[in-house]
Symmetry: C3
Subunit: 339 residues, 3 copies
Amino acid sequence: MKTGEIANLLGGKLTGDSEVEIDLVAAFDNAAPREITFLEKKVDHGQTRASCVLVGEDFDGQLPCLIRLKNPKLAFAKIAAVLQPPKKNIAGVHPTAVLAKDAFLEKDVFIGAFVCIGENTQIGDRTQIRAGAKIGDSVRVGMDCVIHANVSIEDGATIGNGVILHPGVVIGADGFGYVRDGAAGYVKFPQIGAITIEDDVEIGANTCIDRGALGETRIGEGTKIDNMVQIAHNVQIGKRVIIASQTGISGSTVIEDDCVIGGQVGFGDHARVLSGAIIGSQAGILPGKIVRPGVWWGTPVQPLDEYKRQNAHLKGIARLKDEVKALRQEITALKEPGK
Amino acid sequence: MKTGEIANLLGGKLTGDSEVEIDLVAAFDNAAPREITFLEKKVDHGQTRASCVLVGEDFDGQLPCLIRLKNPKLAFAKIAAVLQPPKKNIAGVHPTAVLAKDAFLEKDVFIGAFVCIGENTQIGDRTQIRAGAKIGDSVRVGMDCVIHANVSIEDGATIGNGVILHPGVVIGADGFGYVRDGAAGYVKFPQIGAITIEDDVEIGANTCIDRGALGETRIGEGTKIDNMVQIAHNVQIGKRVIIASQTGISGSTVIEDDCVIGGQVGFGDHARVLSGAIIGSQAGILPGKIVRPGVWWGTPVQPLDEYKRQNAHLKGIARLKDEVKALRQEITALKEPGK
Amino acid sequence: MKTGEIANLLGGKLTGDSEVEIDLVAAFDNAAPREITFLEKKVDHGQTRASCVLVGEDFDGQLPCLIRLKNPKLAFAKIAAVLQPPKKNIAGVHPTAVLAKDAFLEKDVFIGAFVCIGENTQIGDRTQIRAGAKIGDSVRVGMDCVIHANVSIEDGATIGNGVILHPGVVIGADGFGYVRDGAAGYVKFPQIGAITIEDDVEIGANTCIDRGALGETRIGEGTKIDNMVQIAHNVQIGKRVIIASQTGISGSTVIEDDCVIGGQVGFGDHARVLSGAIIGSQAGILPGKIVRPGVWWGTPVQPLDEYKRQNAHLKGIARLKDEVKALRQEITALKEPGK
């Protein structure tokens, strides 16, 4: 692809040769000729061998070939998807795969080795199902999905279009619910609800999303979930939510649209995070808590400002102790002036 | 099943038509006709289309058809297991499964596609082993178990009756133990011990339970473990213990019968939790700590009352600082009355 | 193996019969005749039926057959590897395995049932790949590795010699990186970098190590990683690092050689842990933080001494409050002596 074409595609303003061939994307420091890179800073402090650099509109430095645009990192992500699209296996069903008789594959589906597809399950156009994925009965997988190796999708799950499930993901396992029956121990509460993953969701390796107990677990459109995240029964995640690795969300908690959740955060059950909230890593949210928009931190979670103030107070306790000790001495002196 | 039969089975007192047919269970708000639901509250504040409602003995509201009993939620769980039992594949061995010559299947076992069963391994009556599960050598799996897709059970593990392992569970991998050999780095300490899962244990997706180093790792009867829990070598978990998601238990720690452990809790090694203790989510238990019965919270873990008191004190530091400042001014005034 | 041979092999000094046959290793308390065990304490306070005991050079107790050496636990680990080496399947390719035409197996490789090996992938001498492991295209696995059941290795990964990957490990999945495109949501940042696991690394069950975004993720020689650890894109882990279970390391963070990291620790992105640091369990390291050698604890992480002091201060707040209250009364008395 030529630099001129790239500038057109991205809607940027090219300075330099429009006929340079670009094959690959690369980081600024490691790029080679015939590669394109990007720079977020106004001035470059390094050197690059890249043949073309995407920069901001206010870029102030000197580079032989550059394209100015509003958001160079976003533009870089977009051109990377064109120049180096994710691997697509050629459509077809591997001879080792086991498909139920009434499983229905739409057009141009790829089914890898040792894949199982259950009864009454439907796989949408151009979806890729990699080796060893196990898809249960009555599952619906949309178009243009990539289901990676060793994923498990349990019966009745609904997966939208453009969904990516990384290796080891488990969708629709039973939630964790029991009723105590005295000395006899625990009786399993029914875990027979639905699980819906909307369009353009990406889910990281070994993440688990349980089905609803009686109701539904739902992950909203465009939401991105990192590795080893736990999402319990009946959780509702909105659209365009970001959830970093190892976070756990207890039953029936709601996270509304456009929230950003750090790593290793723990949510109690029946909490609600209002649209636009940002929650820092390792925070703990108590059951039933409502988290308003803004930046939150700590356990139990509090607004970042309060958290910082409290932390500063904590650091000041030693000084406070010394001061109280000094006051004690002065009062003693006042009371017993002769001493 | 008719409402009269259900009332008999559950030992409840029916008010209303005993001949209504019930097919399914459902949540109170979403139930449809021919479905049964339950209500834990004394009065209902909503409406249900369910044909029958399980309620407490002291229920005070108006419903066309209800069954009074001591614990309506428990009764609901029990009738759900009758009306909507978990899927059972028809017994048989899928032609793609690979069984060692001396693997021994008892009666009515189901073995799914791409399952491996190792040498000298025995699978009990009516146990279901779903697609892609890998079971090593000299493993003993009891009766009426469900081993879901892509589970791994390593050599020599012992699994009781009625055990459920959800997708991606790993039983009996090596524990994490090494001896430092100076500059040469770490030498693996032997991880050759036993791993025993007793009857009626349920283990959530992608949870890992390591084998003993030299001794045994054991999970007691009726214990329920959520997704992505880590249980290290030589841990002993008692009977009827509840462990929520993403909790980690270090080597040789003991959790006695009837404890309840929240999510994301971390246990140091060689700790001991006495029977009946309840530990809140995200708590941290130091190595060797003994946790007595009661409710515990925080890191390092402390009784919930103390935790709350300390948290209140923390919130009060700012006020304390102001008070000390005021005292300082008053003392200064006392010392220099002329000023 | 005879006790005399063992003493020679380990470089220890035997006291007792050099002709006793030893078959197995065992713990001190549970050992049987024909077994060898070890004791770290100077005097034994228990009884053992072991035929031989490895003890320290300053051992002071009475045992019928013992071998004195510098580090009895290390010696025990070494002799265990000789007496009870890990299982080795006989070399060969299981007929159900699916190998790409140009996959290249070196000498004495074992490939289990339902294994996939992609195009242009190379497996080194004596490496064992267990049932259900999925290895992508252009992967290089070194010699003497053990890849356990249901492991997923994505395209282009490089795995050194003597590496052990436990069941469910995911190597080289996409990292978690997106660029926000206003109301349209998130665009995937390219995750096309490299992933390198150096020699003698051991990785616990269900751990995930993502590939670099544009650069490389690297795990250094002799590093040992426990179960369910998350390692994000572009992380650099040095040599001989220990990382306990459920720890999460965000993008581009560097952990230098010979560090020890506890369980459930969370690292923000772009942090750096200098060689020799020890970080306690559940600690939280802020993005960009530099952690110097020494012992660290808490969130945000601080030197253990400071953490302890601060914790003691915290415990003292109640007393401080009482003292301030008393001062207030005394000052009031001083100001109004008549009252």
